[in-house]
Symmetry: C3
Subunit: 481 residues, 3 copies
């Protein structure tokens, strides 16, 4: 034990551990990583893609209790507990079939605390540890024993005015935060914020619900689109006009980007006649699965055309097979930790889009993958050539220390730093935003320190790249500068 204590001290002690989190144990690397991190630690946070609720910020609604803050809405958390046999109902995850679920925040928190060992060596465990320490001053590791005490500490803090969302927004030093909003959203909360002069929150145009003919409620979504746009959607032409109207509305309220999700990267324009016929079939409730796939591939092309014209940066998130677990989907609905990746082909799939817009300086497309094999094989070569392309940050499961390192290892040499989109936290957990950016900045600093000490770049270049990846590339990529 004394040996251990001695070593830990040599590496900096408890306080030192937090200060050097994510850095290599090798001493020259650690020293330089510290210096590079110091360069970027204080930079404002740019969060150009995420899922924070704009109403919470517009109305400055106090954060909820610890269970609602950390567990109930976070599928990273409950899917891990579920995988080890903890029923989702006991974690308070709301059911859509009327099954009763646990409603007592303290009980939910205890259940989580009892199983906190499941998060050893995971990014979820790391973010929570950082949040507890940094935001709530809790230094001890969560456990069955201290669950109630920690709950009380958090709960007490959450009631303070300085823990209200707008106060935290300032404390977190957020330069820009983009939300993700349906094409049919009126953006009333964004409007309200702008009217009060708070323009650092921006909407993002996400039309998946009206582009995917096979989605539950597509017909109703299209009706809603007609309603909010004031354009009667009776055919493909009026549908496109309504989408263009919404894009203009989003832009007027600060949007600089759109976001699109699909299972495959296929982009393939149809003739006017073909797409018109499919749209008519869909309105009549007679579209086939093949119609839906072709329509999605066509609409991605149409969206690229609109982006080239209106300048909204296009984001494409590919490769998640949603709602893989039928029983969980039927009982609990969407986004319940049961979305499983599939392999993604990019080189052939994106070619029609790139033929049309890949060399167009007005157009920008940011690509996100769940298939790490495509980083070095397809994505880095693509973004390292086409002026319109940028590679998005490591996404979802790869938003982790090793996921980030694999990303930097796989793409930097071919893509260079300036074809990368910097970082985005992609989170609905507002309070976790600083922890996620901190991990990215630390991992980048450590990675660059290693490169520098290996003589592969010099320190001034490492400093410049650290700043670019922490801050400037996100601004530039998303046209926020």
């Amino acid at each position: 034990m004394s040996t251990t204590s001695h070593r830990t001290q040599a590496a900096g002690g408890a306080a030192g551990r937090a200060a050097d989190r994510c850095f290599s144990p090798e001493s020259s690397t650690r020293t330089l990583a510290r210096e590079l991190y110091a360069e970027v630690e204080g930079l404002p946070i740019v969060s150009p893609h995420g899922h924070v609720d704009p109403r919470m910020l517009a109305e400055d609604i106090p954060l909820p209790d610890p269970a609602q803050l950390f567990i109930v809405p976070d599928h990273y958390v409950f899917r891990m507990l579920y995988s080890q046999g903890v029923p989702m109902a006991e974690l308070g995850v709301p059911s859509r079939d009327g099954t009763p679920v646990e409603g007592d925040a303290r009980k939910i928190w205890r259940r989580f605390a009892e199983h906190f060992h499941l998060f050893r060596a995971t990014p979820t465990g790391l973010w929570l540890t950082i949040e507890l320490e940094t935001l709530f001053g809790v230094e001890e590791k969560l456990s069955a024993e201290n669950a109630d005490r920690v709950f009380d500490v958090i709960q007490e803090k959450l009631e303070r005015p300085e823990y209200r969302p707008r106060a935290l927004f300032e404390r977190f030093n957020i330069h820009t935060l983009a939300t993700t909003d349906a094409a049919t959203d009126t953006l009333q909360h964004h409007l309200a914020m702008r009217e009060r002069g708070f323009a650092r929150v921006r909407p993002t145009f996400r039309p998946d619900a009206v582009l995917n003919l096979g989605a539950e409620g597509w017909r109703a979504n299209v009706e809603r689109l007609a309603e909010v746009s004031g354009i009667d959607v009776v055919d493909y032409g009026s549908f496109v006009a309504a989408l263009e109207q919404r894009r203009a509305h989003f832009r007027a309220l600060g949007a600089t980007a759109t976001d699109h999700a699909s299972i495959a990267a296929d982009v393939a324009p149809l003739s006017e006649a073909e797409v018109g016929a499919i749209f008519v079939r869909a309105l009549a409730g007679a579209a086939t699965a093949e119609d839906a796939a072709r329509f999605t591939a066509h609409m991605l092309f149409e969206m690229a055309r609109m982006s080239a014209e209106d300048g909204l940066v296009m984001q494409l998130h590919v490769g998640s097979l949603r709602n893989h677990n039928r029983a969980v989907f039927e009982r609990f609905g969407l986004d319940k930790g049961a979305d499983i990746p599939v392999a993604t082909e990019w080189t052939r799939a994106l070619r029609p889009l790139l033929d049309a817009y890949g060399n167009d300086q007005r157009y920008r497309l940011v690509l996100y993958t769940l298939d790490e094999a495509s980083y070095s094989r397809e994505l880095a070569p693509l973004v390292g050539h086409y002026p319109a392309l940028r590679l998005g940050a490591p996404w979802w499961f790869f938003d982790s220390v090793k996921g980030m390192e694999r990303y930097l290892d796989a793409v930097m040499e071919t893509a260079g730093a300036y074809n990368l989109a910097g970082f985005n936290d992609d989170t609905r957990a507002f309070a976790s935003i600083p922890a996620r950016h901190e991990v990215w900045r630390r991992v980048v600093a450590n990675w660059l320190a290693t490169q520098t000490l290996r003589g592969l770049m010099d320190e001034s270049d490492a400093r410049a790249v650290a700043r670019a990846l922490a801050f400037e590339q996100a601004l530039d990529t998303y046209r926020l500068a």
Copy 2:
């Protein structure tokens, strides 16, 4: 040379080198890795999947000569020699076409020793080095010069009573060893061991030879199944009944698991009529290749159903294209180092099985892959969500220092430690078991030391995970506790 000696001494000298094998050269990592390894070094070995011959243990048959022990049955060894032009016949690999092969153990050993440089930086070289040191006290590196001398040292030891299998079983501190046995096996050696009160060896139910309609001798295997089960197999219903009878027999003799190999992960149940018709065609010798593929995909589903009912843990080893080298297969038969992996899709392929049993606490499925790209893309997300799933240890080519490190790097953050199956050695080389577990335990200790020193977990968590991965997870996953 003096510089070199000095540095090697600083790193611990010759003895120190063995003590720190697999650990990082970085000193704080090495120190902590040592401590974590000390925590698990003495834990009993759990070997829940492997290919040791139960007769050898039941009858305590002395180990064979050095050539038969290390070379002739080990396709890792002779495929490497073959790749560099050494004929398999000169290595004593038995032919099935009557071609004469070398029978002199000492000559075979010399041939191997002359080519020992081929095993530089390979796991085979590492295991052999550890075995020679630990089990036979041979510290010098094998070479053409010392081949005869080393042969004699090993041969002399092998004749001693303390080198008999049962003595080694105790010396190796084996808690449980599972063999792999055909569905048609009577398990007489397992029965004999149990009758003598030795219950630490367990059978595993592997029905591939009766499930694969396209396998050589399928018809004869089904007849043998009827014979040993006492159930006349005349149609699909009686076939299933016979399989269930065998599973019960295996369970009675200690089995806790089944094992299945297939080239693809497809699981797709057929209607009773469909599968019945295929089975009838197969009995009549008229099954097509498509019948065989559909039957395999159906039977994996049927096996899952049986596992949910009888509690046998199901193992699935996917992605090996067997007997790739036709000339080698024709002359030497199965398992001759010419099995080559193919890419594997899991997300869509397993969905029918997971729809039915993925949330069933009675059911457990352990997945093994030869496609490392699927670790982070599909497997970690699947096992990190479905209660029924565990991810098996790095398999076959990946049972190596770097293979293990890539596995831990790719899966731990998403799957967590407790959705992993721990380690299994998967070997037919009984004497190599401790070396293989030692490498795993050392690699895990080193990996956790790095995580800890980077501030990503604390030391008590690292100790707990080290114990879990070395011992507890294997017991728990295979329902051996």
Copy 3:
């Protein structure tokens, strides 16, 4: 800043930085890496695959100006600048549609220098840095400020006799340099060199232009083949005879290898009747895309047959989708940085070839991939079994520090060192050859140092493997010894 300086000094200072380039910052690793590198640093360069112009060497034509030397012909360089919005015309890349392009070398150089930050952390940046330092004595980092000064320094040196190609050939200590030459090439420059007794430059037989029925100008290429071979190509039989005549000619002028590129690894022989019919259709200008794909797969088989007979080592480069960017292709033509990789399947694709020649000691096939996922999954197991196979060096995008490390990590444990082909620089940039070999040798030395200090091999084995990978394996694989 003083801390920084102190640390940099501890790691060796500016001179030390260059001396320890690519090595780990960990001190014991760095020390051993230095020793291992010292073992191989002075070995002659073997360059068995590349694209240097033989005329330049035959006629000892002075190297061109800095823009033509470093930028204009190097798609690694201009594709990165293009991805960040620098027009290719401003970089002097010649157009084929008559569009005017920049012709002033100094202006092109300035444009490059202004954007030199884009090459931070890239292999292109590293090679250039090494070349500037080692060949031109330029120690400062290129920038807009020093662009003219550096241009002048390089330009002045390039005019000296000791910078002529043949002088550099000696200074670079090149043992063998292979060029890549069309099947229809008369090899006049090779002949001229041999006549003057300079036999260290060898041609490589690359027949892609006559094997790919779909290539621009295939018909004209076949006519040229007939002309240079003196064999009238009227059907498949005479086509094969003409190819055999060319192979004999290449062998007579020192060739030891052939080279083949294809998008997929498929090899599938056709019947004489089938291939004859396709060839007749092609001569008539009536071949389909399917004909072309089948013909390529057949011809790879035919080429293997010829290699088994005449002993030319066959190289196969698979997986590049050429000319992905239509606009760039139309304006600038081939090889303009817009070749994007696709996933590659090897296990099934190569089986017909390996059935026929995989065990044939006369035959050798060297495989190159752009799909790193296939390294550990398919390629290492294949070359670790089949006597005829070797795995080529990390290719194209992976010819980088991290690309080389991923390659060694992924393949060495399964393939061993002696089934690898060593290194080749694959470059058309003659002056960059030493830098590329230096990076490989340093990365190998560092990798082996780590393995050694982790107790996974001993120092004498590490020395032997370092020599093998730096020099001996290239000689042996390409039958140059």
